[in-house]
């Protein structure tokens, strides 16, 4: 369970996951795509926020917000 970890910590773990898989010659499809979504969050300045802030990456692409006063 990675509850409460920051975007940066998860990105670091993803770097370990994908590097290890490359060393073993194992294809990792979803983990690599997922790491790029975390990288989009980092590029948007969400580095030190909780992993739940991944929602903001999708919100910005779609032009909507989840939760808050509207919902």
């Amino acid at each position: 369970m990675c509850r409460g970890g920051t975007i940066d910590i998860s990105y670091k773990d993803q770097e370990l996951e994908t590097t290890f898989a490359k060393q073993l010659g194992v294809p990792l499809l979803l983990a690599n795509v997922t790491q790029q979504v975390y990288q989009m969050a980092r590029a948007a300045g969400l580095n030190k926020e909780d992993g739940s802030s991944i929602i903001k990456v999708f919100e910005r692409m779609a032009g909507v917000t989840i939760g808050g006063d509207d919902d």
Binding site: M1, C2, L16, Q35, G68, D71
Partner: protein
Amino acid sequence: MVVHDINPARVAPLVAAGAIVEASAEAVAAKCHRTICMVETTDQAESVILGENGIIQSAKQGDIVLCMSTIDPLAARRFAERLGAKGVTMLDAPVSGGTHGAAAATLSVIVGGLAETFAASEDLFRAMGKNVFHVGGLGHGLAMKLINNMLGQIATVAIAEALVFGKKAGLDPHKIYEVVRVSTGSSVQFENRVPRMLARNFVPGGHD
């Protein structure tokens, strides 16, 4: 207990509780039979374990090093080989459960390495964690931790994609949570992440 941190403020509560503070990892290992290293990156672990003022400089034949950071499994095996040349054994023992689990001693501890070294270290793991697993040889604790984390990260992205899709379809995100959490799309990540997303609570560190 003998402790060291590059930030003295970090060990102050332990010193107040009676721990002895030392100026380096080398000095800690000189006084201890079993030394724990818990840092953030592979480079930091290498520095603490194999570096100039690292554990390897003073560790003695028969001593044990417990590497509890989440680092590169192949690097961990390399550290263990270097320690092994001095007759020192190492376990990789990453933890899961966050700062909340650490404070409550309810962490999962996922251990790789020799069974006899695990047996000689288990009391320390049980003091920190509720679920202690010995999963195989050196590096296997880390491999298991990475696979667990990978699943959580993939689920988080899938959840975010689904919530935004649902919102665009005109659904109330609170209703999505209410329905999915008791249906086939739910998961531990869904239960943990969605309430934080709905509450716009993005503070890290287990403040849930």
